[in-house]
């Protein structure tokens, strides 16, 4: 069994690092999701085009390879990143690309009549977005964002590969130090599961509030991630929450 000293010096801070990486990467990813997601619905073809290129490049890229590249190759271009920030930006950039599809899809699913009503009321483009489209699209975004957030949490395990001392890194240290692999990796898996569970609970709460804001009730879904398709994948018609929406 791992010593309690080891536990307090590596494992507990590791949990904290994992949480930090998740939060920072989620913040970066959210900013990119909305930025790129909105840009992909822009009136100007050049904006759509550039945003589309971003989306295709970072969706096609493996997060781990990008992370390695940022950590090992970027310094040679004169940009040395602290391991943690290399990891956070690689995750944020990748998952932001996935998230942009959620934002784009939910905005596209807002009924056209709503947008036309905004035009009829002589709202500016920005007013329409802020007062009409986003408030209605937001409840549709929350469930897929929950899935994406869990994907991101799982993705944070990758930062251990570029020497960020998250909990997976701590687990590997324990393995190297004591060779006690079974308890360590089992504990690790359980910890990730618990974190994912907490995220789901939090997002459910957010979903309930968001849906209440537009006078809806959340659908009943069992399990924690019943609707998948978080990473820009499409599911069979009728099962994707962002596409349909309730009238």
């Amino acid at each position: 069994m791992m010593s309690s000293e080891f536990f307090t010096t590596w494992f507990l801070p590791g949990i904290w690092v994992t949480v930090q990486v998740t939060v920072y990467a989620a913040a970066l990813g959210a900013a990119i999701s909305f930025g790129i997601g909105l840009a992909r619905g822009s009136r100007y073809w050049i904006v759509r085009f550039v945003a589309g290129i971003y989306f295709e490049v970072f969706r096609g890229m493996s997060a781990l390879v990008l992370m390695f590249w940022m950590f090992f190759a970027l310094p040679l271009f004169g940009w040395q990143l602290v391991p943690m920030w290399a990891g956070v930006s690689a995750l944020g950039l990748t998952y932001g690309a996935y998230g942009s599809e959620i934002v784009r899809g939910s905005l596209a699913a807002v009924s056209p009549a709503q947008k036309e009503a905004g035009v009829a009321l002589n709202f500016t483009r920005l007013q329409r977005l802020r007062l009409i489209e986003l408030p209605q699209a937001w409840p549709e975004m929350v469930p897929p964002f929950n899935n994406l957030l869990i994907e991101l949490l799982k993705g944070t395990a990758l930062v251990s590969v570029i020497t960020v001392a998250d909990m997976t890194f701590a687990g590997n240290l324990v393995r190297l130090g004591t060779n006690e692999t079974t308890p360590v990796y089992t504990l690790l898996l359980v910890l990730y599961f618990v974190l994912a569970f907490l995220i789901t609970r939090g997002m459910r709460l957010l979903e309930r509030r968001a849906k209440a804001g537009v006078g809806q009730r959340p659908e009943k879904t069992g399990g924690s991630t019943r609707t998948s398709g978080a990473r820009g994948e499409r599911l069979p018609a009728g099962s994707q929450s962002a596409a349909g929406g309730t009238a």
């Binding site: 890229m61 390695f68 190759a73 393995r175 990730y192 998948s228 069979p236 099962s239």
Partner: protein, 215 residues
């Protein structure tokens, strides 16, 4: 800073080895994921609680924990009480197992998408349970699930470099060792570009497939 095409040239033979390993892992992993996913999906619909419950619990657990840690678990823990596998085999099993929990969801959605009338018609024709599944439900469900399954193949491709962390020589593994030996970084960039070059046409293909199959 500096980009040296000679380094890229030197890396090329090993790059192709890596591509081969990556594609191999992807192909076998995909087969496992597709087959096992269907098993999970059917088991989750089982009428017996003692079948349904454990399967739901296990798939939820696998889906909500990182593939990387699962790979470590398979590679370092499983040999303590089970078979000891080579890095590549472990990677393939890990990828297949992890993604089978996703494909299970896809199958589930596809099966749920078959109209209730089809089930009722099968009952009316007094088809046996096995025949109902084989000739009525699954053929209709498979059509719907092909595009999303394809998307998960792409997702799997992007997660496949993780098997390099347990010592398999896929694209990333080759690039890493090459970079460490030669103190260069061109190999990593080549691999990064290769991922986009493989993934983008693949996603276009899936989109085309989706237009043809769904509706």
């Amino acid at each position: 800073m500096s980009w040296d095409w000679n380094v890229v040239d030197d890396f090329m033979p090993r790059f192709w080895d890596g591509v081969l390993v990556t594609l191999q892992a992807l192909a076998v992993g995909t087969l496992i994921a597709f087959a096992l996913g269907l098993v999970w999906a059917l088991a989750q619909r089982s009428g017996r609680v003692w079948v349904r419950w454990p399967v739901v619990a296990v798939t939820e657990f696998i889906r909500n924990t990182p593939l990387l840690v699962q790979l470590f678990f398979l590679f370092y823990v499983v040999p303590n009480f089970g078979p000891s596998m080579s890095p590549l085999t472990t990677g393939i099993v890990g990828l297949g197992l992890h993604y089978s929990t996703y494909t299970a969801e896809v199958y589930r959605a596809g099966i749920d998408g078959v109209p209730a009338g089809q089930w009722e018609a099968a009952t009316a024709l007094s088809l046996s349970k096995g025949r109902t599944w084989r000739v009525v439900i699954l053929p209709q469900a498979i059509r719907r699930v092909v595009p999303p399954l394809g998307n998960y193949v792409i997702a799997m491709l992007k997660d496949s470099p993780m098997i390099a962390t347990i010592g398999a020589f896929d694209m990333l593994g080759e690039a890493q060792t090459f970079s460490n030996e030669t103190f260069t970084t061109e190999a990593l960039t080549v691999v990064g570009v290769a991922f986009i070059v493989i993934a983008y046409p693949a996603s276009l293909l899936i989109r085309a497939l989706e237009r043809r199959l769904v509706r």
